[in-house]
């Protein structure tokens, strides 16, 4: 225990603040929560790793699970998430720890309550009574760490604080469980409640437990303070526009970013001279000089701009499999600083579009987002504009999104408008950069729409000019020439 009087005080204050903010906080301490889900399992051993080395927290929970039901095979294992954190949960996957095969995870609607959200994990094969299986659940949690202190000076080290549950939250009683918290650097301070829980601090690790016979939905609170350097990249809003041109065999992509560094805010003002003397200081502090993103290998006409024009500070590196784009904002981004930009490029459609032979059906496969590492995306809009004449459009995503809208857009020389898919999503991270499938029908005759429209337009212009050249508005004088 490395508790000092002041830090306890601080911790208590923070804990108090965090508690008053959640309505159900009182219940944390007072009574035992009873899970709603059928108690058909028992956890014999559970290991949880909480990785705080990046702004996005990765939690890996590996549980050995035993079917305790007398005679029934079990397929549904429930994984609870505190409702207070459900907005922070960006991504969840599960796998069989032994066979490494992924398991299907769905948000449960049946056992819904105000305090816990359950995720239903479907076992690949029904588990007979008394048998055991090992399940690993990986979750990615965003926006859970807070800068403490909230303001730091230029090149000053930035510290974060994390509040969490010292116990792994389970829907079933656990015979034994242990949590390891990994931080990027040495752990600075740890506080926990209830204070009787075992806790060991080793360099950049905090080991909580092992605890024996932990109740289901057991919770307490612990706090860890640690240093985390660099920016906390956060995209407030991302608008990604993908335009398909079957005529030009082109896929045009444009992404608009509204960006903020959520690291500790810069104390006072920015000094260029200090920055120039110690440009590396930014790495230890709360600033960022740039970001990297990957573009397809065949991308061309790459541009990087913002509201007032081209940003001349980017660089492109051709890698064997992709193009590395180094995006450097106009100014170094310190904590709390904002910027916006947009990038765009063209790439041949070949690799993305497949026609199902013998039918008019086309399948477009594009990544939903092109991720920047460790970045959280708050509000994402993906617009896919299909060629004019595309019908029966259907978009399929491997994860749940807020909304999928189908509409039409009119752009260059369109007569009927192009089918457009708009996907609205929130709280995305790198892991969401999976393929988005869009299925649509596009007949051969639709290829002719554009040239016909263009020809008609030209014809109209010529016809008008012919008519006009024959009009004569003269008053007086002879209308006959010569």
């Amino acid at each position: 225990m490395r508790l000092t009087a002041t830090s306890t005080l601080v911790a208590t204050i923070i804990a108090a603040i965090s508690l008053t903010s959640s309505a159900h906080a009182e219940e944390f301490w007072s009574e035992q929560d009873v899970p709603l889900v059928p108690q058909t399992f028992k956890i014999t051993n559970l290991l949880r790793t909480l990785d705080l080395s990046k702004p996005i927290i990765r939690e890996i929970t590996s549980a050995a699970v035993q079917n305790t039901h007398a005679d029934q095979d079990q397929t549904d294992y429930y994984f609870p998430v505190d409702q207070a954190y459900s907005d922070n949960l960006a991504f969840i996957t599960a796998e069989n720890r032994k066979t490494k095969e992924p398991l299907e995870v769905t948000k449960d609607e049946e056992f819904y309550d105000a305090q816990f959200q359950y995720y239903k994990i479907k076992l690949a094969t029904p588990l007979p009574p008394g048998e055991k299986v090992q399940i690993t659940v990986r979750t990615s949690l965003t926006n859970l760490i807070h800068a403490f202190p909230t303001h730091v000076g230029q090149a000053e080290k930035q510290k974060f604080v994390y509040f969490g549950n010292p116990f792994a939250l389970t829907a079933y009683p656990a015979t034994k469980q242990k949590t390891t918290v990994i931080t990027p650097n040495n752990v600075l301070e740890v506080h926990e409640h209830p204070e009787e829980v075992d806790l060991v601090v080793k360099n950049n690790q905090v080991i909580l437990g092992p605890y024996n016979d932990v109740n289901s939905l057991e919770h307490g609170i612990f706090e860890v303070q640690y240093e985390l350097t660099g920016a906390v990249p956060h995209v407030r809003r991302l608008r990604r526009e993908i335009e398909v041109s079957q005529w030009g065999n082109n896929l045009a992509v444009e992404e608009h970013y509204n960006f903020v560094n959520r690291g500790a805010e810069l104390k006072g003002q920015f000094s260029r001279i200090d920055f120039q003397r110690n440009p590396m200081g930014i790495r230890d502090g709360n600033g960022a000089l740039g970001f990297q993103t990957k573009l397809p290998k065949l991308a061309r006409d790459i541009y990087y701009r913002d509201e007032i024009g081209n940003i001349s500070t980017s660089a492109i590196a051709h890698q064997p499999d992709y193009i590395q784009l180094m995006l450097k904002p106009r100014f170094p981004l310190f904590g709390g600083w904002n910027t916006t930009w947009y990038i765009g490029y063209n790439t041949p459609l070949d690799g993305y579009l497949r026609k199902i032979a013998g039918t008019d059906k086309h399948i477009l496969k594009v990544p939903a987002i092109s991720p920047m590492p460790d970045t959280t995306y708050e509000d994402v809009e993906i617009r896919v504009v299909l060629p004019e004449g595309a019908k029966n459009v259907k978009a399929v995503l491997p994860y749940e999104v807020d909304e999928i809208e189908y509409s039409t857009t009119k752009t260059y020389m369109d007569s009927a408008g192009r089918s457009t898919v708009t996907i609205l999503a929130s709280n995305l991270i790198e892991d969401h950069a999976q393929d988005l499938l869009i299925e649509y029908e596009f007949s051969q005759t639709s290829y002719l729409t554009k040239p016909l429209a263009a020809a008609t337009m030209l014809m109209a212009i010529y016809a008008t000019s012919i008519v006009f050249s024959h009009l004569d508005f003269k008053i007086g004088g002879s209308t006959i020439k010569k």
Partner: protein, 809 residues
């Protein structure tokens, strides 16, 4: 090629002796023949538009250097305001734009944009934008704005063609179009991204003049009306419309003096003035000026004079000459007395406003420097250096007088106009650099007249015919072939002489200017001219002497094109918000500090942050940084600008009061000392001081900024006032530290700076760009403990300062 036959037979005998010339002559003739035949009108009909389109393409593409080199971006200062207002117009619609009160500029006064702006260019772009969007072309408004001036330059070239065609013929017209398309004098204000009023105004100027000439020539009310409509468009687009307002009446007046009053003039001028003036008054910024200011009085006067003259003419028809004379005398006396008394009374009572300062400075170049430093401080209001005439117009400048001379020779109504235009435009261009722009079209037009006359003379193939008709004249040692020409041919060709000459003359003229003239009418007109010319003109027979001139003229054309491209690319295609330099390995390095600072302000200051800077950057800050500015390039309030000048040039304590009074959050300055950018604020500082002194003579004194030896210094020798001024402190704050304390050198002024830099107590550095070009300071809030900011800063700095100050005591 059958059409060649006739010509060939005529010349074949001459050619027999000098076969080696045959080929050259033949080429010329072929060229001519194509044009001269009956089918020529069809060919010309295709060629002329093609050439005009090509000229437009050249005009547009030569303005795209900055796009190719940098990007599609709005340039300089004023265009940023136009761009911002256009965005507002496109976003909020016309009526909102018309009633727009911009509270983000001239804080805390604000600006009524709708009433203080020439809306022509914004409305034009918005219209193009909306039409394109109506047809589902989602073109960004920025691109419309960037490409507007080049597009209009194509139209300008076309109007130059029309105008010159009215003066001479279409071959001269094509030349004028080509000249105006690439003349640097016009390109300087119409490159892509230079989204300024002049971009469309020059087109309107030339086109209005064309319509005016057409109206005077035809006496058609229709053309008079068109002139008025385009005059209205011009009024809505540029303050330079006053040039038309005065030049057209002057033309009418001159014609009157020359005794050339005609019904044509009466109809066209009356239509133009009545409709044009009423229309121009619809622009809120112009309002009642046409009836109230001296600048517009000439037009009104001429209008009245024409009415009286026409009335007198009418009366003359009904009254016997003797009585009419008496009546006329009485009438004139009465009118003169009434008019002069009326004008005097109205002027003194203030109904008619006197000339504005900007106008006075056109007559006396020293006027502005003494009375209105704010006008003199603008570089484009400086008198023109003589070299810039050549720089902007190259060979046109020496063809120009020749063209004017040729106009004198013709001296029809329209030529009088060109003469007047050239005289006045030359004067104004000499007074103000910026007015080079109005001179350029007339220079191109008259140079084209001169050039095409030269070509007409030297390319005329009719000489053979002439030679055979008048062999006596043709005695020159260089043409023995002509002398030996058989006289038998003489009588034969004499009959056909005139006809053939006409035909061939037309052909020659056609081949002259980019080979595209001679419609039926032109050919006829020229035939007449040549027929007269047979008496007047001394024909040039010698191929060598012809070639000498032609080749030289062609060479001039090449040089001209080369010069224009060179000037455009080198001097007029820099967006000025981005600076480019070459690195040692030859790669381009871009210094983008302005946008770095502006974008930082845009994204990382609060929505209503007030930023003080010198007025030069006002428009850019409003456009790019989207912050509230105190003063900007619309220099309408001298006192406000002087206040900013005072804040910049006084000591911290004095200027802090000014800053607090104006709610200033940030102060932005330009400092070029690190990279040697000479257009920075320390170099402009003297103007700030001068303008501030004009309003606050007790706070700011220019002499205090000069060393006893009268030098403007920033180094060790800088005066105390200089070193205490806010501008100096902001510029050199922590500058010496960049050089590790010693040997700090200001690269603009080549000054070695003291190692101990200035200290700031009422401001704190908020942002400095990568190359230190832009420095932004935050104005500190009042001290929490009620201390003086100087004391509190000293206290924060710690013991050292305190102890040293104690020691002094």
């Amino acid at each position: 090629m059958e059409k060649l036959e006739s010509l060939e037979t005529e010349s074949s005998m001459l050619m027999a002796k000098r076969p080696y010339l045959r080929k050259e002559i033949q080429l010329l003739e072929q060229f001519a023949a194509i044009m001269s035949s009956e089918s020529s009108s069809t060919v010309a009909r295709v060629l002329k538009p093609t050439i005009l389109i090509l000229i437009a393409v050249v005009a547009i593409s030569s303005r795209l250097f900055s796009i190719i080199r940098f990007e599609s971006v709005i340039h300089e200062f004023d265009p940023w305001f136009n761009y911002r207002t256009t965005q507002h117009l496109v976003k909020n619609g016309f009526y909102d734009f018309w009633n727009w009160f911009d509270e983000k500029s001239w804080y805390p006064l604000g600006r009524v944009v709708g009433g203080t702006v020439y809306p022509g260019i914004m409305v034009t772009s918005a219209l193009i934008h909306n039409v394109l969007h109506f047809f589902n072309f989602p073109v960004d408004i920025r691109n419309v704005c960037v490409f507007l001036a080049p597009m209009f330059s194509g139209l300008t070239a076309f109007s130059a063609y029309l105008l010159t065609k009215e003066l001479k013929d279409s071959s001269a017209g094509l030349l004028a179009a080509a000249f105006l398309g690439v003349a640097p004098g016009y390109i300087s204000r119409s490159v892509a991204g230079s989204y300024d009023n002049e971009g469309i105004a020059i087109f309107l100027l030339v086109f209005t003049f064309y319509l005016w000439i057409k109206a005077v020539k035809t006496g058609s009310a229709f053309f008079g009306l068109l002139t008025a409509l385009f005059y209205f468009y011009m009024v809505s687009a540029w303050g330079g419309y006053v040039f038309i307002t005065n030049l057209v009446p002057l033309h009418a007046f001159t014609l009157l003096l020359m005794g050339r009053f005609s019904n044509r003039l009466y109809v066209s001028y009356s239509t133009f003035y009545a409709v044009g003036t009423l229309l121009s008054m619809q622009i809120p910024f112009v309002g009642f000026q046409p009836t109230r200011t001296s600048e517009h009085m000439a037009a009104l006067g001429v209008f009245g004079l024409l009415q009286l003259y026409a009335f007198a003419e009418l009366v003359r028809g009904y009254i016997p000459p003797k009585q009419f004379k008496a009546l006329l005398k009485g009438g004139i006396a009465a009118v003169v007395i009434i008019a002069s008394v009326g004008l005097t009374i109205l002027s003194f009572s203030g109904v008619i406003a006197p000339f504005t300062g900007r106008f006075y400075s056109l007559y006396d170049t020293g006027y502005a420097k003494i009375h209105i430093p704010i006008i003199a401080s603008v570089s484009e209001h400086q008198p023109t250096a003589w070299t810039s005439f050549f720089f902007d117009l190259q060979m046109l400048i020496f063809l120009f007088p020749a063209g004017v001379y040729l106009c004198f020779k013709e001296l029809k109504d329209e030529h009088v106009f060109i003469i007047l235009y050239s005289v006045f435009a030359s004067y104004f261009a000499g007074v103000m650099v910026r007015l080079m722009l109005t001179l350029t079209p007339v220079v191109c037009v008259s140079a084209a007249i001169a050039y095409s006359t030269l070509l007409d003379t030297y390319l005329e193939t009719s000489e053979h015919v002439l030679a055979s008709t008048k062999p006596a004249i043709a005695v020159t040692p260089a043409t023995p072939a002509v002398i030996e020409a058989p006289t038998a041919a003489t009588s034969e060709t004499k009959v056909a002489g005139k006809k053939a000459a006409a035909k061939a003359a037309a052909a020659a003229a056609a081949s002259a200017a980019a080979a595209a003239k001679s419609t039926e009418a032109d050919a006829k007109a020229h035939a007449k001219a040549t027929a007269d010319g047979e008496k007047k003109r001394f024909p040039i027979f010698n191929l060598d002497s012809r070639m000498l001139v032609i080749l030289q003229l062609t060479w001039f054309l090449f040089m001209f094109a080369w010069h224009c491209t060179y000037v455009t690319s080198g001097s007029y295609s820099s967006p000025s918000i981005v600076l480019a330099s070459r690195q040692q390995d030859g790669s381009q390095m871009i210094i983008d500090d302005f946008r770095e600072a502006y974008y930082w302000l845009r994204k990382n200051t609060k929505e209503d942050a007030k930023v003080m800077s010198w007025w030069d950057y006002g428009y850019q800050m409003a456009g790019m940084a989207n912050v509230t500015t105190l003063v900007d390039n619309n220099t309408w309030n001298n006192t406000h600008i002087a206040t900013v000048g005072k804040a910049m040039s006084t000591s911290e304590e004095v200027s802090y009061k000014v800053l607090r009074q104006h709610d200033v959050d940030y102060v932005l300055i330009l400092f070029g000392g690190v990279i040697g950018y000479s257009g920075d604020d320390i170099n402009k500082f003297l103007w700030m001081i001068r303008i501030a002194e004009g309003v606050y003579p007790s706070d700011v004194k220019e002499t205090n900024f000069f060393t006893p030896r009268g030098e403007y210094k920033v180094d060790h020798d800088a005066t105390k006032t200089m070193r205490d001024s806010l501008m100096y402190k902001m510029s050199y704050y922590r500058f010496a530290e960049l050089y590790g304390g010693g040997n700090a050198v200001d690269h603009v002024r080549n000054a070695r700076m003291p190692s101990e830099g200035p200290t700031l107590s009422v401001l704190e550095e908020a942002y400095t760009t990568e190359n230190w070009l832009v420095r932004i300071y935050k104005v500190k809030d009042l001290d929490n403990l009620g201390r003086d900011l100087k004391d509190s800063t000293a206290f924060d700095k710690g013991r050292v300062r305190k102890v040293s100050s104690l020691k002094k005591k």
